[in-house]
């Protein structure tokens, strides 16, 4: 199911998403499909930041403040990750 | 609540290609990573899923006890699943010691039974078993033959009873109350598009011709690779064009001795005829026998 994510999209962890911290990484489980996902350092950070609803724009801006790198690239990568999480039914988007 | 589609065949009868092609078709006919073959349409006699589902160590059970529980295992998966379950299996269609079919008809949506010329099976199976062709012909005629049953050790799969090659074929072809599609390996090789399309239709898949064509194309190399490994243990070097040689499905002609052919056709002639495989005539074998004999020329040639 393709989901279009834009800066104004509000994203939030799905309440029934199962996740845990393993070392420095966040590990997610899609219970329905029995699949596991490991998020790297930045992905884990993003995951924690979407605990409460936040717009992709705000999220991206916050990350640009924390991580060095082109703001445009950060924005693009953030959208890509959110898209993947949405496709795997781990976040809800409005 | 769902049902099973069994992709059943005697070992080395060619379900690998069909599984790969179905996988590609599942993805719209695109190229798929074939490195992890085992996870797609896995063997229905794999030990681990059985142990996990039944909450028991099957290695603590006898082969008979395990077999008696397999119908319960399949029924449980059907009860708790919501999509058709595809499994490859090598078991003959046999009854368990409890007197019921190993594969319950009530949870079977259909069977795709793949069959191959037993003369080619003998060659391929011998290679797979790292055994002689003669020994393998004996196994194919042994009603007690079974896969994954090593004495004194534990295999990753549950025991799969094969019966004889003929017994295997007849058990599936004559089983009552089963919806069936029978495919011959040789036909899959000659007409992959048609075979795949018929299979997809049988499985209830929506498959447009472009996707089927794509899947055939995507698996062409894999078919050739499979053919290569099948010919691989032949001593004669094979040139690049060999895969396109006519009669590649009849590789046995170059490998089996006359006596071996005779044995197989004696053991399995009736079923071979039923499946449309032509048997060798007495002349063919006799001619070869003559050629094989070393002989002394009666008259020395004058130079």
């Amino acid at each position: 199911m393709a989901v279009t994510i834009g800066l104004e999209t509000v994203v939030r962890q799905k309440p029934d998403a199962l996740w845990s911290t393993v070392g420095d990484e966040v590990v997610l489980m899609n219970v329905e499909r029995g699949k596991y996902y490991g998020l790297g350092e930045i992905g884990s950070d993003i995951w924690r930041r979407v605990r409460g609803p936040i717009s992709v724009g705000d999220l991206s801006a916050a990350l640009s403040g924390e991580y060095s790198g082109d703001a445009v690239v950060i924005e693009r990568d953030t959208i890509a990750l959110i898209e993947q999480l949405a496709q795997r039914n781990l976040v809800e988007c409005q | 609540m769902t049902g099973f589609y069994w992709l059943a065949s005697y070992p080395k009868s060619g379900n690998t290609w069909l599984r790969l092609a179905l996988r590609s078709l599942r993805h719209g006919g695109s190229a798929v990573d074939f490195s992890n073959e085992d996870s797609w349409i896995p063997n229905g006699a794999a030990r681990e899923p059985f142990d996990q589902t039944l909450d028991v160590e099957s290695s603590d059970l006898t082969a008979v006890e395990t077999e008696i529980l397999r119908p319960r295992f399949y029924e449980f998966l059907a009860k708790t699943g919501d999509e058709p379950i595809l499994r490859k299996i090598h078991d003959a269609y046999v009854p368990t010691a409890a007197g019921e079919p190993l594969f319950p008809p009530a949870v079977t949506s259909g069977v795709v039974y793949i069959v191959r010329d037993p003369r080619d099976v003998a060659v391929s199976f011998a290679h797979h078993r790292r055994s002689s062709i003669d020994n393998t012909i004996g196994v194919m005629q042994n009603p007690a033959a079974a896969m994954a049953y090593r004495a004194g050790d534990l295999a990753e799969q549950l025991r799969q009873r094969l019966l004889t090659w003929s017994g295997h074929v007849e058990s599936w072809l004559d089983a009552p109350h089963l919806r069936r599609l029978v495919l011959r390996y040789e036909d899959m090789l000659a007409s992959p598009f048609d075979s795949l399309a018929r299979t997809a239709s049988f499985l209830g898949w929506e498959a447009d011709p472009a996707a089927v064509a794509g899947a055939v194309e995507a698996t062409r190399f894999q078919r050739l690779k499979a053919e290569e490994s099948r010919h691989g243990f032949r001593e004669n070097p094979v040139g690049e064009g060999a895969f396109f040689r006519r009669g590649v499905a009849n590789g046995w002609r170059d490998t089996l001795s006359c006596e071996q052919v005779r044995r197989i056709e004696r053991d399995h002639g009736r079923v071979m005829r039923r499946l449309g495989y032509s048997l060798t005539s007495a002349n063919e074998c006799a001619a070869e026998a003559l050629l094989a004999q070393p002989y002394e020329p009666i008259d020395a040639r004058s130079s």
């Binding site: 845990s20 | 030990r47 039944l54 529980l69």
Partner: protein
């Protein structure tokens, strides 16, 4: 009539009071606490009240009680808190087979109920460090553990590695019982005599070797988990550290009686326990050829990784 009760035994740290002898276990030699687990023979109902999980062999009821049964062997009732087991043998007295499943699936269920995490793994102690070898049946766990025992190291368990993930200093392994279950070929490879060793299910050619002299009776910190995988065909042998996601996935697959575990403690709690384990214990994928000749070399290699100095 013999009135003396069967002495209590030790199983995964529990004091076990059993109506019938349990020769596989060590006698209780700890403190004088009350028994943690009671096992007796008695009636077991065909069906529990309020079944919420209905598998072919295992029923789990709403109140948490369980019924596990193997045809022609026995039925077992497990109380909601996992402090009592009632055994109903199919016929006659309690046989080796009856005890086999008691110390197998029933034991696994008890672990889940009592807050312990059972892994389908063998485990040995190397200089105070526990190393576990996980994998499906036939992957070579017990054979590898047997090779360690032969090399002088102590066994914590050969089939069910009981882990306490809540221990203050990090996950620890609680010893199970001093038996090594080996197949005939493995027995030969390890140079073990088969005479006088029991084969619980006769046809199976699986031997139950007592190893009391080489058994660790204390809890040992879990240092590493190796997931064993067969190297198929031309695939080379390798050892790779698993990333967080894969470690959680592979460890989940290695949980003993995972389906029962999910039903008993819940998906979430199980996930948390596994994550906790993977946070502190490195997991590796060990791809190896099933080669009896290489066993001693393997042991040496693994010991070198984990021994101090």
């Amino acid at each position: 009539m013999n009135d003396s009760p069967v002495p209590d035994s030790l199983l995964a740290g529990w004091r076990v009071r059993c109506e019938f002898p349990l020769p596989e276990l060590l006698p209780w030699s700890g403190d004088d606490r009350a028994a943690d687990l009671l096992i007796r023979t008695g009636e077991v109902p065909e069906r529990l009240d309020g079944v919420v999980s209905d598998g072919p062999l295992l029923q789990v009821a709403r109140d948490g009680s369980c019924r596990f049964a193997i045809q022609d062997v026995a039925a077992y009732f497990i109380s909601p808190r996992g402090d009592e087991v009632i055994v109903a043998p199919a016929s006659g007295p309690v046989s080796t087979s009856v005890r086999l499943f008691l110390l197998g699936s029933v034991f696994g269920i008890l672990c889940h109920k009592r807050g312990l995490l059972p892994l389908h793994a063998s485990c040995v102690a190397v200089e105070g460090r526990a190393i576990a070898f996980a994998g499906p049946s036939g992957a070579g766990k017990s054979t590898l553990a047997g090779a360690f025992v032969k090399a002088g190291y102590r066994l914590l368990t050969d089939d069910v590695t009981v882990v306490d993930v809540t221990a203050p200093g990090g996950p620890v392994v609680v010893p199970a019982f001093p038996r090594l279950k080996l197949w005939r070929l493995a027995m030969g490879a390890l140079g073990l005599e088969r005479e006088n060793i029991e084969t619980p299910r006769v046809e199976a050619e699986k031997y139950d070797v007592p190893v009391e002299n080489a058994f660790a009776t204390e809890r040992v910190p879990l240092t590493a988990v190796y997931h064993l995988q067969r190297a198929k065909g031309a695939k080379p042998e390798s050892m790779n550290r698993l990333t967080a996601g894969r470690a959680v996935r592979d460890t989940t697959e290695a949980i003993y009686r995972v389906r029962a575990g999910r039903n008993l403690v819940g998906q979430q709690a199980l996930f948390r326990s596994i994550s906790r384990l993977c946070s502190t214990v490195p997991c590796h994928l060990l791809t190896q050829k099933m080669d009896f000749e290489r066993l001693d070399t393997r042991v040496a290699g693994l010991v070198a990784r984990h021994a101090s100095g």
